[in-house]
């Protein structure tokens, strides 16, 4: 069990890692920029590198950080809410709803902010649908919520497949990129970063109660946790975080599943430390993965979702096999 001091130390280290990952993202690319020039450009010096660093790379890096943080936070919350280590932000169909919205927008020939708007509406619709169906008779078991979400997600998947089938050839590429997760369209980062700050600020006061909820609802209730209220808060916060991330960058996979587990293996399952830690770790990982995605076979850009999986899966399997003895 971490003490408050050790928790702050871990968070300070992760904050440094986050800054380092952002620095790498700003410096690396088809036009390498020295670290000194990066700092100069950020400080406002009018150098040639300024446009590349501040206008091109910074929004994308910050969007990546925000999305990674949101997905990891949503994943950690879903795992606690459903008391299921296999849960991730997409398990309850929120990304499916967003996917249907985004692809429908693309099918109708909309672009830019309209796609984001449609996907956010789709995510909210899926969220309310699952919540309404699972909560219909007043009882709320994890199994019922999980099954409802999985079925809604499957339905959304079918609609996505249908849209892909009827969509004209030239739109398919963009749709596939969106589905695999892609940060190249992310230009406005302020809303995403704001959602990240809000979701973290809303959940942190309940962190110790989440520790109890993870051990069982009845026991948590007997120890004084307002379980139904807490579950609703966690559900809507996780759904909002997922919707914001998916709207910004499409369905980037594996961050929401793997980062909470990675962090848990390293520092334990105390949500007071885990929740802020997964935000920093998830943000850093996605920034680094995105930097790789746009540089490794430049000028071709890979969908970052593919890279998060390619990095995340072996790292996760390695850590899991190492921790088996525990």
């Amino acid at each position: 069990m971490p003490t408050r001091r050790r928790a702050l130390l871990v968070l300070a280290l992760l904050a440094l890692l986050s800054l380092a990952s952002l620095a790498v993202a700003l410096a690396v690319g088809s036009v390498p920029v020295a670290l000194g020039e990066v700092l100069g450009a950020l400080a406002g010096a009018d150098t040639p590198a300024r446009q590349i660093v501040v206008d091109l790379r910074l929004p994308r890096a910050l969007a990546g950080f925000a999305c990674g943080g949101l997905l990891a936070l949503a994943g950690a919350l879903m795992q606690v809410l459903l008391r299921n280590p296999l849960a991730d932000p997409y398990v309850l169909g929120i990304s499916g709803g967003a996917g249907v919205g985004a692809l429908a927008a693309m099918l109708f020939g909309l672009a830019g902010i309209a796609i984001a708007g449609f996907s956010f509406v789709g995510a909210l619709a899926a969220m309310l649908l699952v919540f309404g169906l699972a909560h219909g008779d007043g009882s709320w078991t994890q199994t019922r919520l999980l099954l409802t979400g999985v079925v809604v997600a499957a339905g959304c998947g079918a609609v996505v497949a249908l849209i892909l089938t009827v969509a004209p050839e030239q739109k398919i590429h963009g749709m596939l990129f969106w589905l695999m997760g892609d940060l190249s369209q992310a230009t406005t980062v302020a809303p995403t970063l704001t959602v990240l700050a809000i979701t973290l600020a809303v959940t942190l006061p309940f962190a110790r109660e989440l520790n109890l909820l993870a051990r069982g609802a009845e026991q948590a209730l007997a120890l004084g946790v307002r379980v139904p209220t807490l579950r609703r808060i966690v559900y809507f916060v996780a759904a909002l975080a997922t919707a914001a991330a998916v709207t910004t960058a499409g369905s980037i996979g594996f961050i929401g599943l793997i980062v909470p587990h990675l962090v848990r293996l390293a520092i334990g399952n105390d949500q007071r430390l885990l929740l802020p830690a997964v935000v920093l770790a998830g943000g850093s990982l996605l920034v680094l993965a995105d930097t790789l995605a746009r540089t490794v076979v430049a000028p071709t850009q890979l969908p970052v979702g593919v890279l998060t999986a390619l990095i995340g899966v072996p790292v996760f399997l390695y850590l899991l096999s190492r921790s088996n003895r525990a």
Binding site: R215, L223, N269
Partner: protein, 250 residues
């Protein structure tokens, strides 16, 4: 009275557990709930713990209803030991026992050294002193049961509501646990309600018994009055005969 129920009616769907149940438990009193599988022992216990609503009647803890107390104050007064043990995520035994301190901590507080001392003392009381840093998942069923009892001890409530506290325990630890509970009742004036399956243990370690017959009828009173051949035979639907000279663990 530590725990009182007046005219309590509890049911599970169409199945009536009890009707018109009156109960008074003074500090230091130990009540055993006995009945067949499915008679509603756990449901009644959860109702007494304020975890589910009763059909009718009033339950008071130390003179106040659960709605008046609020969840946190109720958690400082009564502890509840459930039957389910499931932890999908890894944690140590000490972390688990420390969850019992939750109702005593402010929203932003972390567990203090004092809380950890209380948790370690609780672990020692159930015979798990050396196991604090072990992963909970590596414990045996009986050890996990004792860790759950330690969590309840660390909660430091004045009323224990225990659903099958002896589940998974070997004979030695069954007796040790019941003696620990009796000690708490005697020394600290803790009131205890426990669901038991062995009328002999109820007779020996409790001063009152509540029989749930499974059809809505119940009988409650001092063990000497309630536990006899007729009531127990009716309770379990199997003839029981009283034998005085059997071997029982000391």
């Amino acid at each position: 009275m530590m725990l009182s129920a007046r005219n309590l009616a509890v049911s599970i769907g169409p199945h009536r557990v009890c009707d018109g149940l009156d109960l008074d438990l003074a500090p230091g009193a130990r009540l055993a709930i006995l009945g067949r599988n499915g008679a509603g022992k756990s449901t009644l216990l959860a109702t007494l713990a304020g975890l589910r609503a009763a059909d009718a009647g009033v339950i008071t803890l130390d003179g106040r209803r659960y709605e008046e107390l609020g969840l946190a104050a109720a958690a400082r007064l009564r502890g509840w030991l459930g039957q389910e043990r499931g932890d999908p995520f890894a944690s140590t035994v000490l972390e688990t026992v420390l969850t019992g301190r939750h109702p005593h901590l402010d929203r932003w507080a972390w567990e203090s050294t004092n809380d950890k001392d209380i948790a370690r003392a609780a672990l020692a009381a159930v015979g798990l002193a050396g196991m604090a840093e072990r992963a909970l998942q590596t414990l045996s069923g009986g050890e996990r049961q004792r860790a759950a009892i330690a969590t309840l001890l660390a909660q430091q409530p004045r009323l224990y509501l225990l659903d099958e506290p002896l589940a998974h325990l070997d004979l030695n630890h069954q007796i040790a646990t019941l003696e620990l509970l009796s000690l708490r009742a005697r020394r600290d004036n803790i009131a205890i309600v426990m669901v038991l399956h062995d009328p002999n243990l109820a007779l020996r370690f409790c001063d009152r018994a509540l029989l749930l017959f499974g059809d809505g009828r119940h009988a409650e009173g001092p063990v000497a009055a309630v536990l006899n051949e007729d009531t127990l035979s009716a309770l379990y639907g199997h003839p029981l005969r009283r034998v005085e000279n059997v071997f029982i663990p000391e």
